[in-house]
Amino acid sequence: MDTIADLASAEKLALANQFLKLFVFVLAGFVGFLVITRVPPLLHTPLMSATNAISAISIVGALLAAGGDHNRVSTTLGFIAVISASINIFGGFIITDRMLKMFKIEGRK
Protein backbone atom coordinates (compact mmCIF):
# COMPACT_ATOMS: atom_id res chain seq x y z
CA MET A 1 0.00 0.00 0.00
CA ASP A 2 1.35 3.36 -0.85
CA THR A 3 -1.35 5.55 0.58
CA ILE A 4 -0.08 7.89 3.21
CA ALA A 5 -2.15 6.84 6.12
CA ASP A 6 -2.89 9.92 8.08
CA LEU A 7 -4.39 10.17 11.49
CA ALA A 8 -7.49 11.96 10.35
CA SER A 9 -8.55 9.55 7.62
CA ALA A 10 -8.23 6.65 10.06
CA GLU A 11 -11.44 7.64 11.77
CA LYS A 12 -13.22 7.85 8.46
CA LEU A 13 -11.88 4.45 7.50
CA ALA A 14 -13.01 2.98 10.80
CA LEU A 15 -16.51 4.28 10.23
CA ALA A 16 -16.50 3.05 6.65
CA ASN A 17 -15.42 -0.37 7.87
CA GLN A 18 -18.28 -0.58 10.33
CA PHE A 19 -20.71 0.11 7.51
CA LEU A 20 -19.00 -2.30 5.17
CA LYS A 21 -19.43 -5.00 7.79
CA LEU A 22 -23.09 -4.10 7.96
CA PHE A 23 -23.34 -4.46 4.18
CA VAL A 24 -21.63 -7.83 4.41
CA PHE A 25 -24.06 -8.96 7.09
CA VAL A 26 -27.13 -7.85 5.17
CA LEU A 27 -25.96 -9.36 1.90
CA ALA A 28 -25.03 -12.63 3.57
CA GLY A 29 -28.48 -12.65 5.14
CA PHE A 30 -30.02 -12.33 1.68
CA VAL A 31 -27.83 -15.11 0.34
CA GLY A 32 -28.84 -17.28 3.27
CA PHE A 33 -32.50 -16.54 2.76
CA LEU A 34 -32.37 -17.19 -0.99
CA VAL A 35 -30.45 -20.44 -0.62
CA ILE A 36 -32.21 -21.89 2.41
CA THR A 37 -35.70 -21.35 1.02
CA ARG A 38 -34.69 -23.62 -1.85
CA VAL A 39 -33.61 -26.51 0.36
CA PRO A 40 -36.27 -29.24 0.05
CA PRO A 41 -37.91 -30.58 3.26
CA LEU A 42 -36.22 -33.87 2.44
CA LEU A 43 -32.92 -32.30 3.45
CA HIS A 44 -33.99 -30.22 6.42
CA THR A 45 -32.37 -32.43 9.04
CA PRO A 46 -29.02 -32.52 7.20
CA LEU A 47 -29.38 -28.75 6.81
CA MET A 48 -29.67 -28.30 10.56
CA SER A 49 -26.61 -30.35 11.22
CA ALA A 50 -24.77 -28.65 8.36
CA THR A 51 -25.38 -25.21 9.81
CA ASN A 52 -24.21 -26.56 13.16
CA ALA A 53 -20.98 -27.56 11.53
CA ILE A 54 -20.58 -24.26 9.71
CA SER A 55 -21.28 -22.29 12.88
CA ALA A 56 -18.16 -23.87 14.29
CA ILE A 57 -16.38 -21.18 12.29
CA SER A 58 -16.07 -19.35 15.60
CA ILE A 59 -13.01 -21.55 15.90
CA VAL A 60 -11.32 -18.69 14.08
CA GLY A 61 -11.90 -16.38 17.03
CA ALA A 62 -11.05 -19.16 19.44
CA LEU A 63 -7.67 -19.74 17.80
CA LEU A 64 -6.83 -16.04 18.01
CA ALA A 65 -7.78 -15.94 21.68
CA ALA A 66 -5.95 -19.15 22.59
CA GLY A 67 -2.81 -18.58 20.55
CA GLY A 68 -2.43 -14.85 20.92
CA ASP A 69 -0.50 -14.97 24.18
CA HIS A 70 -2.56 -12.12 25.58
CA ASN A 71 -3.13 -13.21 29.16
CA ARG A 72 -3.97 -16.34 31.05
CA VAL A 73 -7.72 -15.74 31.02
CA SER A 74 -7.80 -15.31 27.27
CA THR A 75 -5.69 -18.40 26.74
CA THR A 76 -7.90 -20.52 28.99
CA LEU A 77 -11.18 -19.31 27.55
CA GLY A 78 -9.72 -19.63 24.06
CA PHE A 79 -8.58 -23.16 24.82
CA ILE A 80 -12.05 -24.23 25.92
CA ALA A 81 -13.54 -22.46 22.89
CA VAL A 82 -11.15 -24.30 20.58
CA ILE A 83 -12.28 -27.57 22.11
CA SER A 84 -16.00 -26.88 21.78
CA ALA A 85 -15.68 -25.49 18.26
CA SER A 86 -13.59 -28.38 17.03
CA ILE A 87 -16.03 -30.87 18.55
CA ASN A 88 -18.60 -29.31 16.24
CA ILE A 89 -16.28 -29.30 13.26
CA PHE A 90 -15.35 -32.96 13.52
CA GLY A 91 -18.69 -34.19 14.81
CA GLY A 92 -20.77 -31.93 12.59
CA PHE A 93 -19.23 -32.58 9.21
CA ILE A 94 -18.95 -36.31 9.85
CA ILE A 95 -22.54 -36.80 10.91
CA THR A 96 -23.83 -34.62 8.07
CA ASP A 97 -21.87 -36.66 5.59
CA ARG A 98 -23.14 -39.86 7.20
CA MET A 99 -26.69 -38.65 6.71
CA LEU A 100 -26.18 -37.47 3.16
CA LYS A 101 -24.51 -40.71 2.16
CA MET A 102 -27.88 -42.31 2.74
CA PHE A 103 -29.62 -40.10 0.22
CA LYS A 104 -28.27 -41.89 -2.77
CA ILE A 105 -30.55 -42.29 -5.75
CA GLU A 106 -31.04 -46.00 -5.86
CA GLY A 107 -32.92 -47.86 -8.54
CA ARG A 108 -34.90 -50.17 -6.34
CA LYS A 109 -37.57 -50.93 -8.86
Binding site: N52, S55, A62, S86, R98
Partner: protein
Protein backbone atom coordinates in the same frame (compact mmCIF):
# COMPACT_ATOMS: atom_id res chain seq x y z
CA UNK B 1 -8.68 -9.38 15.45
CA UNK B 2 -7.32 -8.64 18.86
CA UNK B 3 -5.02 -5.79 18.05
CA UNK B 4 -1.27 -5.75 18.18
CA UNK B 5 1.31 -3.40 16.82
CA UNK B 6 1.08 -3.57 13.05
CA UNK B 7 4.18 -3.63 10.95
CA UNK B 8 4.38 -3.07 7.22
CA UNK B 9 5.48 -6.66 6.73
CA UNK B 10 2.52 -7.98 8.65
CA UNK B 11 0.11 -6.57 6.09
CA UNK B 12 1.10 -9.30 3.67
CA UNK B 13 0.20 -12.03 6.12
CA UNK B 14 -3.01 -10.24 6.93
CA UNK B 15 -3.86 -10.23 3.22
CA UNK B 16 -3.21 -13.96 2.91
CA UNK B 17 -5.52 -14.65 5.82
CA UNK B 18 -8.22 -12.49 4.26
CA UNK B 19 -7.95 -14.37 0.99
CA UNK B 20 -8.48 -17.69 2.73
CA UNK B 21 -11.48 -16.19 4.51
CA UNK B 22 -12.97 -15.05 1.24
CA UNK B 23 -12.47 -18.51 -0.23
CA UNK B 24 -14.01 -20.06 2.87
CA UNK B 25 -17.06 -17.81 2.65
CA UNK B 26 -17.59 -18.75 -0.99
CA UNK B 27 -17.20 -22.43 -0.15
CA UNK B 28 -19.73 -22.19 2.68
CA UNK B 29 -22.27 -20.62 0.35
CA UNK B 30 -21.64 -23.22 -2.33
CA UNK B 31 -21.98 -25.85 0.37
CA UNK B 32 -25.42 -24.68 1.41
CA UNK B 33 -26.35 -24.31 -2.24
CA UNK B 34 -25.47 -27.95 -2.68
CA UNK B 35 -28.13 -28.80 -0.11
CA UNK B 36 -30.83 -27.57 -2.48
CA UNK B 37 -30.79 -30.98 -4.19
CA UNK B 38 -30.17 -34.46 -2.84
CA UNK B 39 -27.76 -35.20 -5.66
CA UNK B 40 -25.40 -32.33 -4.94
CA UNK B 41 -25.75 -32.25 -1.16
CA UNK B 42 -22.80 -34.43 -0.27
CA UNK B 43 -20.42 -32.67 -2.60
CA UNK B 44 -21.67 -29.37 -1.18
CA UNK B 45 -20.81 -30.31 2.36
CA UNK B 46 -17.37 -31.34 1.21
CA UNK B 47 -16.93 -27.82 -0.14
CA UNK B 48 -18.02 -26.45 3.22
CA UNK B 49 -15.57 -28.70 5.06
CA UNK B 50 -12.81 -27.52 2.75
CA UNK B 51 -13.83 -23.96 3.55
CA UNK B 52 -13.54 -24.69 7.26
CA UNK B 53 -10.10 -26.19 6.74
CA UNK B 54 -8.92 -23.16 4.75
CA UNK B 55 -10.24 -20.80 7.39
CA UNK B 56 -8.39 -22.63 10.17
CA UNK B 57 -5.15 -22.74 8.20
CA UNK B 58 -5.50 -19.09 7.23
CA UNK B 59 -5.99 -18.14 10.86
CA UNK B 60 -3.05 -20.17 12.11
CA UNK B 61 -0.95 -18.37 9.52
CA UNK B 62 -2.01 -15.03 10.98
CA UNK B 63 0.87 -13.28 12.69
CA UNK B 64 -0.98 -12.54 15.90
CA UNK B 65 -0.90 -16.24 16.76
CA UNK B 66 2.34 -16.88 18.56
CA UNK B 67 1.93 -20.04 20.61
CA UNK B 68 0.52 -23.25 19.28
CA UNK B 69 0.53 -25.51 22.33
CA UNK B 70 -2.96 -24.81 23.61
CA UNK B 71 -4.32 -24.73 20.09
CA UNK B 72 -3.05 -28.14 19.15
CA UNK B 73 -4.21 -29.48 22.48
CA UNK B 74 -7.67 -28.07 22.00
CA UNK B 75 -7.96 -29.38 18.47
CA UNK B 76 -6.91 -32.87 19.53
CA UNK B 77 -9.33 -32.97 22.44
CA UNK B 78 -12.09 -31.63 20.20
CA UNK B 79 -11.39 -34.27 17.58
CA UNK B 80 -11.40 -37.05 20.18
CA UNK B 81 -14.77 -35.95 21.52
CA UNK B 82 -16.23 -34.96 18.16
CA UNK B 83 -15.37 -38.14 16.33
CA UNK B 84 -17.73 -40.46 18.23
CA UNK B 85 -20.39 -37.75 18.24
CA UNK B 86 -20.15 -37.88 14.45
CA UNK B 87 -19.82 -41.58 13.85
CA UNK B 88 -21.65 -43.23 16.74
CA UNK B 89 -24.75 -41.21 17.48
CA UNK B 90 -27.76 -43.04 16.03
CA UNK B 91 -29.97 -41.19 13.54
CA UNK B 92 -32.87 -41.41 15.98
CA UNK B 93 -30.97 -39.19 18.38
CA UNK B 94 -30.41 -36.44 15.83
CA UNK B 95 -32.62 -33.83 17.53
CA UNK B 96 -30.74 -33.93 20.83
CA UNK B 97 -27.48 -34.27 18.91
CA UNK B 98 -28.19 -31.01 17.07
CA UNK B 99 -29.17 -29.30 20.32
CA UNK B 100 -25.95 -30.40 21.97
CA UNK B 101 -23.93 -29.11 19.05
CA UNK B 102 -25.67 -25.77 19.43
CA UNK B 103 -24.50 -25.63 23.02
CA UNK B 104 -20.90 -26.24 21.97
CA UNK B 105 -21.08 -23.70 19.17
CA UNK B 106 -22.61 -21.02 21.37
CA UNK B 107 -20.11 -21.79 24.11
CA UNK B 108 -17.24 -21.18 21.72
CA UNK B 109 -18.71 -17.92 20.44
CA UNK B 110 -19.47 -16.64 23.93
CA UNK B 111 -16.05 -17.48 25.33
CA UNK B 112 -14.41 -15.70 22.40
CA UNK B 113 -16.49 -12.63 23.18
CA UNK B 114 -15.60 -12.69 26.86
CA UNK B 115 -11.92 -13.22 26.11
CA UNK B 116 -11.93 -10.30 23.70
CA UNK B 117 -13.58 -8.02 26.25
CA UNK B 118 -11.28 -9.11 29.05
CA UNK B 119 -8.14 -8.74 26.94
CA UNK B 120 -9.10 -5.28 25.75
CA UNK B 121 -9.67 -4.13 29.33
CA UNK B 122 -6.51 -5.83 30.55
CA UNK B 123 -4.26 -4.46 27.81
CA UNK B 124 -5.91 -1.03 27.86
CA UNK B 125 -7.03 -1.30 24.27
CA UNK B 126 -9.88 1.16 23.91
CA UNK B 127 -13.33 -0.36 23.51
CA UNK B 128 -15.42 1.69 21.11
CA UNK B 129 -19.20 1.84 21.34
CA UNK B 130 -19.91 -0.25 18.26
CA UNK B 131 -17.52 -2.87 19.59
CA UNK B 132 -19.02 -3.08 23.05
CA UNK B 133 -22.48 -3.19 21.50
CA UNK B 134 -21.42 -6.11 19.32
CA UNK B 135 -19.77 -7.89 22.25
CA UNK B 136 -22.76 -7.36 24.51
CA UNK B 137 -25.17 -8.56 21.86
CA UNK B 138 -22.97 -11.54 21.29
CA UNK B 139 -22.69 -12.74 24.87
CA UNK B 140 -26.40 -12.13 25.36
CA UNK B 141 -27.47 -14.37 22.50
CA UNK B 142 -24.57 -16.75 22.95
CA UNK B 143 -25.09 -17.40 26.66
CA UNK B 144 -28.84 -17.72 26.19
CA UNK B 145 -28.23 -20.37 23.55
CA UNK B 146 -25.75 -22.30 25.70
CA UNK B 147 -28.24 -23.08 28.45
CA UNK B 148 -31.34 -23.03 26.26
CA UNK B 149 -29.95 -25.67 23.92
CA UNK B 150 -28.69 -27.70 26.86
CA UNK B 151 -32.15 -27.79 28.40
CA UNK B 152 -33.64 -28.66 25.01
CA UNK B 153 -31.29 -31.59 24.50
CA UNK B 154 -31.97 -32.74 28.04
CA UNK B 155 -35.68 -32.78 27.34
CA UNK B 156 -35.24 -34.61 24.08
CA UNK B 157 -32.92 -37.19 25.62
CA UNK B 158 -35.49 -37.50 28.41
CA UNK B 159 -33.01 -36.57 31.10
CA UNK B 160 -35.40 -33.75 31.91
CA UNK B 161 -39.19 -34.13 31.94
CA UNK B 162 -40.51 -33.48 28.44
CA UNK B 163 -43.73 -31.82 29.58
CA UNK B 164 -43.75 -28.02 29.92
CA UNK B 165 -42.50 -26.96 33.35
CA UNK B 166 -44.54 -23.89 34.07
CA UNK B 167 -45.07 -21.59 36.99
CA UNK B 168 -47.19 -18.57 37.53
CA UNK B 169 -45.94 -15.41 35.89
CA UNK B 170 -43.13 -17.02 33.98
CA UNK B 171 -43.79 -15.03 30.85
CA UNK B 172 -43.73 -11.87 32.94
CA UNK B 173 -40.43 -12.98 34.47
CA UNK B 174 -38.91 -13.63 31.06
CA UNK B 175 -40.03 -10.28 29.76
CA UNK B 176 -38.61 -8.57 32.85
CA UNK B 177 -35.33 -10.45 32.40
CA UNK B 178 -35.12 -9.46 28.77
CA UNK B 179 -35.89 -5.82 29.60
CA UNK B 180 -33.21 -5.80 32.28
CA UNK B 181 -30.65 -7.26 29.90
CA UNK B 182 -31.44 -4.69 27.23
CA UNK B 183 -31.02 -1.95 29.82
CA UNK B 184 -27.67 -3.38 30.77
CA UNK B 185 -26.68 -3.51 27.11
CA UNK B 186 -27.62 0.15 26.78
CA UNK B 187 -25.59 0.99 29.88
CA UNK B 188 -22.59 -0.80 28.41
CA UNK B 189 -22.81 1.18 25.20
CA UNK B 190 -22.58 4.36 27.28
CA UNK B 191 -19.94 3.04 29.69
CA UNK B 192 -18.07 0.40 27.71
CA UNK B 193 -15.69 -0.40 30.54
CA UNK B 194 -18.33 -1.34 33.11
CA UNK B 195 -16.96 -4.84 33.62
CA UNK B 196 -19.40 -5.93 36.24
CA UNK B 197 -22.36 -5.13 34.07
CA UNK B 198 -20.81 -7.10 31.23
CA UNK B 199 -20.28 -10.22 33.29
CA UNK B 200 -23.67 -9.90 34.98
CA UNK B 201 -25.16 -9.78 31.50
CA UNK B 202 -23.55 -13.11 30.72
CA UNK B 203 -24.95 -14.59 33.91
CA UNK B 204 -28.46 -13.31 33.34
CA UNK B 205 -28.45 -14.58 29.76
CA UNK B 206 -27.48 -18.04 31.01
CA UNK B 207 -30.41 -17.91 33.39
CA UNK B 208 -32.77 -16.68 30.72
CA UNK B 209 -31.87 -19.59 28.44
CA UNK B 210 -33.14 -21.98 31.10
CA UNK B 211 -36.27 -20.08 31.99
CA UNK B 212 -37.13 -19.62 28.32
CA UNK B 213 -36.93 -23.28 27.34
CA UNK B 214 -38.13 -25.08 30.49
CA UNK B 215 -41.79 -24.09 29.98
CA UNK B 216 -41.83 -25.40 26.42
CA UNK B 217 -43.00 -28.95 25.77
CA UNK B 218 -40.60 -31.60 24.48
CA UNK B 219 -42.40 -31.86 21.18
CA UNK B 220 -41.87 -28.21 20.45
CA UNK B 221 -38.14 -28.55 20.97
CA UNK B 222 -37.32 -28.74 17.24
CA UNK B 223 -38.80 -25.27 16.73
CA UNK B 224 -36.86 -24.04 19.75
CA UNK B 225 -33.69 -25.60 18.42
CA UNK B 226 -34.10 -23.95 15.04
CA UNK B 227 -34.68 -20.64 16.75
CA UNK B 228 -31.67 -21.07 19.02
CA UNK B 229 -29.71 -21.96 15.89
CA UNK B 230 -30.61 -18.60 14.47
CA UNK B 231 -29.65 -16.89 17.78
CA UNK B 232 -26.29 -18.58 17.78
CA UNK B 233 -25.86 -17.45 14.18
CA UNK B 234 -26.54 -13.88 15.27
CA UNK B 235 -24.07 -14.30 18.11
CA UNK B 236 -21.40 -15.49 15.69
CA UNK B 237 -22.11 -12.55 13.39
CA UNK B 238 -21.81 -10.17 16.34
CA UNK B 239 -18.46 -11.74 17.20
CA UNK B 240 -17.44 -11.02 13.63
CA UNK B 241 -18.33 -7.36 14.10
CA UNK B 242 -16.41 -7.20 17.38
CA UNK B 243 -13.21 -8.88 16.23
CA UNK B 244 -13.40 -7.53 12.67
CA UNK B 245 -13.84 -10.84 10.96
CA UNK B 246 -16.07 -10.94 7.88
CA UNK B 247 -16.06 -14.71 7.68
CA UNK B 248 -17.75 -14.92 11.06
CA UNK B 249 -20.25 -12.30 9.96
CA UNK B 250 -21.12 -14.26 6.83
CA UNK B 251 -21.30 -17.68 8.46
CA UNK B 252 -23.35 -16.19 11.28
CA UNK B 253 -25.78 -14.56 8.88
CA UNK B 254 -26.19 -17.81 6.93
CA UNK B 255 -26.87 -19.71 10.16
CA UNK B 256 -29.21 -17.05 11.39
CA UNK B 257 -31.23 -17.12 8.18
CA UNK B 258 -31.35 -20.90 8.15
CA UNK B 259 -32.54 -21.26 11.73
CA UNK B 260 -35.10 -18.54 11.34
CA UNK B 261 -36.58 -19.95 8.14
CA UNK B 262 -36.74 -23.47 9.54
CA UNK B 263 -38.48 -22.35 12.71
CA UNK B 264 -41.04 -20.45 10.67
CA UNK B 265 -41.62 -23.40 8.34
CA UNK B 266 -42.09 -25.75 11.28
CA UNK B 267 -44.53 -23.54 13.15
CA UNK B 268 -46.47 -23.13 9.93
CA UNK B 269 -46.63 -26.88 9.40
CA UNK B 270 -48.07 -27.14 12.92
CA UNK B 271 -50.45 -24.30 12.14
CA UNK B 272 -49.19 -22.30 15.08
CA UNK B 273 -47.42 -19.00 15.33
CA UNK B 274 -43.85 -18.83 16.50
CA UNK B 275 -45.04 -16.82 19.49
CA UNK B 276 -47.50 -19.53 20.42
CA UNK B 277 -44.75 -22.15 20.31
CA UNK B 278 -42.47 -20.02 22.48
CA UNK B 279 -44.91 -18.71 25.03
CA UNK B 280 -47.88 -21.02 24.69
CA UNK B 281 -46.58 -23.76 27.03
CA UNK B 282 -48.21 -26.18 24.60
CA UNK B 283 -49.15 -29.56 25.94
CA UNK B 284 -50.34 -28.37 29.34
CA UNK B 285 -53.82 -29.51 28.46
CA UNK B 286 -55.29 -26.05 28.47
CA UNK B 287 -56.69 -26.44 25.00
CA UNK B 288 -58.21 -29.88 25.43
CA UNK B 289 -60.83 -30.74 22.84
CA UNK B 290 -64.47 -30.81 23.86
CA UNK B 291 -65.50 -33.47 21.38
CA UNK B 292 -66.04 -36.99 22.72
CA UNK B 293 -65.11 -40.00 20.67
CA UNK B 294 -67.47 -42.75 19.74
CA UNK B 295 -66.75 -46.31 18.81
CA UNK B 296 -64.00 -48.57 20.07
CA UNK B 297 -60.42 -49.35 19.13
CA UNK B 298 -60.59 -52.69 17.36
CA UNK B 299 -57.58 -54.95 17.34
CA UNK B 300 -56.60 -57.23 14.47
CA UNK B 301 -54.46 -60.36 14.44
CA UNK B 302 -51.10 -60.13 12.75
CA UNK B 303 -51.92 -62.99 10.39
CA UNK B 304 -55.12 -61.35 9.21
CA UNK B 305 -53.36 -58.02 8.71
CA UNK B 306 -50.57 -59.74 6.78
CA UNK B 307 -53.09 -61.44 4.51
CA UNK B 308 -54.73 -58.14 3.68
CA UNK B 309 -51.36 -56.52 3.02
CA UNK B 310 -50.21 -59.37 0.84
CA UNK B 311 -53.12 -58.93 -1.50
CA UNK B 312 -53.32 -55.14 -1.43
CA UNK B 313 -52.50 -53.41 -4.69
CA UNK B 314 -51.88 -49.95 -3.28
CA UNK B 315 -50.28 -49.52 0.11
CA UNK B 316 -49.20 -46.29 1.77
CA UNK B 317 -46.91 -46.33 4.78
CA UNK B 318 -47.31 -43.41 7.19
CA UNK B 319 -44.34 -43.19 9.53
CA UNK B 320 -44.30 -41.04 12.65
CA UNK B 321 -42.30 -40.48 15.77
CA UNK B 322 -42.93 -44.05 16.96
CA UNK B 323 -40.93 -45.37 14.01
CA UNK B 324 -37.92 -43.47 15.29
CA UNK B 325 -38.51 -44.68 18.86
CA UNK B 326 -38.78 -48.29 17.74
CA UNK B 327 -35.85 -47.91 15.26
CA UNK B 328 -37.95 -49.93 12.86
CA UNK B 329 -36.85 -48.30 9.62
CA UNK B 330 -35.07 -51.38 8.24
CA UNK B 331 -38.01 -53.70 8.88
CA UNK B 332 -40.38 -51.27 7.19
CA UNK B 333 -38.38 -51.46 4.02
CA UNK B 334 -38.33 -55.25 4.22
CA UNK B 335 -42.11 -55.31 4.49
CA UNK B 336 -42.46 -52.87 1.60
CA UNK B 337 -40.20 -54.98 -0.60
CA UNK B 338 -42.19 -58.09 0.17
CA UNK B 339 -45.41 -56.36 -0.85
CA UNK B 340 -43.79 -55.03 -4.00
CA UNK B 341 -42.46 -58.46 -4.86
CA UNK B 342 -46.06 -59.65 -4.77
CA UNK B 343 -47.09 -56.95 -7.23
CA UNK B 344 -48.38 -54.31 -4.85
CA UNK B 345 -47.36 -50.66 -5.00
CA UNK B 346 -45.89 -49.09 -1.87
CA UNK B 347 -45.47 -45.39 -1.21
CA UNK B 348 -44.54 -43.46 1.89
CA UNK B 349 -46.48 -40.43 3.09
CA UNK B 350 -44.15 -37.97 4.78
CA UNK B 351 -45.74 -35.28 6.92
CA UNK B 352 -43.52 -32.21 7.32
CA UNK B 353 -43.53 -32.43 11.12
CA UNK B 354 -43.74 -36.17 11.56
CA UNK B 355 -41.17 -37.23 14.12
CA UNK B 356 -39.35 -34.70 16.21
CA UNK B 357 -37.43 -32.61 13.71
CA UNK B 358 -37.90 -31.39 10.15
CA UNK B 359 -37.07 -34.10 7.67
CA UNK B 360 -36.75 -36.64 10.50
CA UNK B 361 -38.59 -39.38 8.61
CA UNK B 362 -36.61 -38.73 5.45
CA UNK B 363 -33.35 -39.31 7.26
CA UNK B 364 -34.59 -42.45 8.98
CA UNK B 365 -35.91 -43.99 5.80
CA UNK B 366 -32.87 -42.94 3.81
CA UNK B 367 -30.82 -44.74 6.43
CA UNK B 368 -32.74 -47.87 5.54
CA UNK B 369 -32.02 -47.18 1.85
CA UNK B 370 -35.60 -46.42 0.93
CA UNK B 371 -35.22 -44.51 -2.36
CA UNK B 372 -36.44 -40.97 -1.83
CA UNK B 373 -38.52 -41.01 -5.00
CA UNK B 374 -41.20 -43.02 -3.20
CA UNK B 375 -41.33 -40.60 -0.27
CA UNK B 376 -44.26 -38.32 -1.06
CA UNK B 377 -45.04 -35.04 0.59
CA UNK B 378 -48.40 -34.12 2.05
CA UNK B 379 -49.83 -32.29 -0.96
CA UNK B 380 -48.83 -35.06 -3.33
CA UNK B 381 -50.14 -38.04 -1.40
CA UNK B 382 -53.35 -36.67 0.09
CA UNK B 383 -55.39 -36.82 -3.14
CA UNK B 384 -54.42 -40.49 -3.50
CA UNK B 385 -55.75 -41.78 -0.17
CA UNK B 386 -59.30 -42.59 -1.37
CA UNK B 387 -57.77 -45.16 -3.75
CA UNK B 388 -55.40 -46.63 -1.20
CA UNK B 389 -56.20 -50.22 -0.21
CA UNK B 390 -54.27 -50.21 3.04
CA UNK B 391 -52.66 -47.35 4.91
CA UNK B 392 -50.14 -48.51 7.51
CA UNK B 393 -49.68 -45.94 10.26
CA UNK B 394 -46.45 -46.69 12.10
CA UNK B 395 -46.06 -44.72 15.30
CA UNK B 396 -47.74 -41.63 13.89
CA UNK B 397 -50.52 -39.96 15.79
CA UNK B 398 -50.99 -36.18 15.64
CA UNK B 399 -50.10 -35.95 11.98
CA UNK B 400 -53.00 -38.26 11.09
CA UNK B 401 -55.54 -36.87 13.57
CA UNK B 402 -58.71 -35.89 11.68
CA UNK B 403 -59.62 -33.49 14.51
CA UNK B 404 -57.26 -31.04 12.79
CA UNK B 405 -59.77 -30.93 9.95
CA UNK B 406 -63.03 -31.19 11.81
CA UNK B 407 -62.88 -30.19 15.47
CA UNK B 408 -62.65 -26.44 15.98
CA UNK B 409 -61.99 -26.86 19.68
CA UNK B 410 -58.98 -29.13 19.17
CA UNK B 411 -55.60 -27.56 19.90
CA UNK B 412 -54.29 -28.85 16.57
CA UNK B 413 -57.26 -27.56 14.57
CA UNK B 414 -56.13 -26.21 11.23
CA UNK B 415 -52.85 -28.08 11.06
CA UNK B 416 -52.57 -29.78 7.65
CA UNK B 417 -52.72 -33.55 8.18
CA UNK B 418 -52.36 -36.70 6.13
CA UNK B 419 -55.88 -37.85 5.16
CA UNK B 420 -55.30 -41.43 6.23
CA UNK B 421 -58.92 -41.76 7.36
CA UNK B 422 -59.96 -41.68 3.70
CA UNK B 423 -58.10 -44.87 2.83
CA UNK B 424 -60.11 -48.07 2.34
CA UNK B 425 -58.46 -49.73 5.34
CA UNK B 426 -56.08 -48.47 8.00
CA UNK B 427 -53.67 -50.37 10.25
CA UNK B 428 -52.25 -48.51 13.19
CA UNK B 429 -49.08 -49.76 14.85
CA UNK B 430 -48.55 -48.44 18.37
CA UNK B 431 -47.64 -49.78 21.77
CA UNK B 432 -50.86 -49.02 23.59
CA UNK B 433 -53.16 -46.15 24.29
CA UNK B 434 -50.35 -43.58 24.42
CA UNK B 435 -51.04 -40.14 23.07
CA UNK B 436 -48.97 -38.21 20.60
CA UNK B 437 -46.97 -35.13 21.32
CA UNK B 438 -50.05 -32.88 21.39
CA UNK B 439 -51.52 -35.06 24.13
CA UNK B 440 -54.96 -35.47 22.59
CA UNK B 441 -57.22 -38.33 21.57
CA UNK B 442 -57.30 -39.44 17.96
CA UNK B 443 -60.64 -40.31 16.32
CA UNK B 444 -58.83 -42.19 13.57
CA UNK B 445 -58.13 -45.04 16.00
CA UNK B 446 -61.83 -45.41 16.68
CA UNK B 447 -62.95 -45.29 13.06
CA UNK B 448 -64.74 -48.32 11.65
CA UNK B 449 -62.14 -48.90 8.95
CA UNK B 450 -59.22 -48.77 11.39
CA UNK B 451 -57.61 -51.80 12.98
CA UNK B 452 -55.00 -51.64 15.74
CA UNK B 453 -51.80 -53.67 15.89
CA UNK B 454 -50.48 -53.21 19.41
CA UNK B 455 -46.86 -53.61 20.42
CA UNK B 456 -43.52 -52.08 19.73
CA UNK B 457 -43.47 -51.14 16.05
CA UNK B 458 -40.32 -53.09 15.33
CA UNK B 459 -41.57 -56.42 16.66
CA UNK B 460 -45.01 -55.93 15.12
CA UNK B 461 -43.39 -55.27 11.76
CA UNK B 462 -41.16 -58.31 12.13
CA UNK B 463 -44.26 -60.35 12.78
CA UNK B 464 -45.93 -58.91 9.68
CA UNK B 465 -42.87 -59.67 7.56
CA UNK B 466 -42.83 -63.27 8.69
CA UNK B 467 -46.57 -63.63 8.16
CA UNK B 468 -46.55 -62.10 4.68
CA UNK B 469 -43.69 -64.41 3.69
CA UNK B 470 -45.77 -67.44 4.62
CA UNK B 471 -48.93 -66.31 2.81
Amino acid sequence: MIQDLPAAASLGREAVTSVTYLAAAVLFILGLKGLTAAKTARRGMQYAALGMFLAVVGTLWHESIVSYGWIVGGLVIGAVIGWPLGTRVPMTAMPQRVALALTFGALAATLVGIAEYYTRLQSHIPISRPIVAALGFEVLFGALTITGALVASGKLQELLPGRPITFRGQNALNIALLGLMLLMLGYLVIYPEAQLVFYALVGLALLMGVSLVLPIGGGDMPVVIALLNSYSGLAAAATGFAIDNSLLIIAGALDGASGFILSILMSKAMNRSLANVLFGAFGTGGGESTATLEGAMVEVRIDDAALQLAYARKVVIVPGYGLAVAQAQQVVRELAELIEARGGEVKYAIHPVAGRMPGHMNVLLAEAHVPYEVLLELEDINPEFPEVDVAVVIGANDVVNPAARTDRSSPIFGMPILDVDRAKAVFVLKRGKGKGFAGIENALFFAPRTRMLYGDAKSTLQGLVAAVKSV
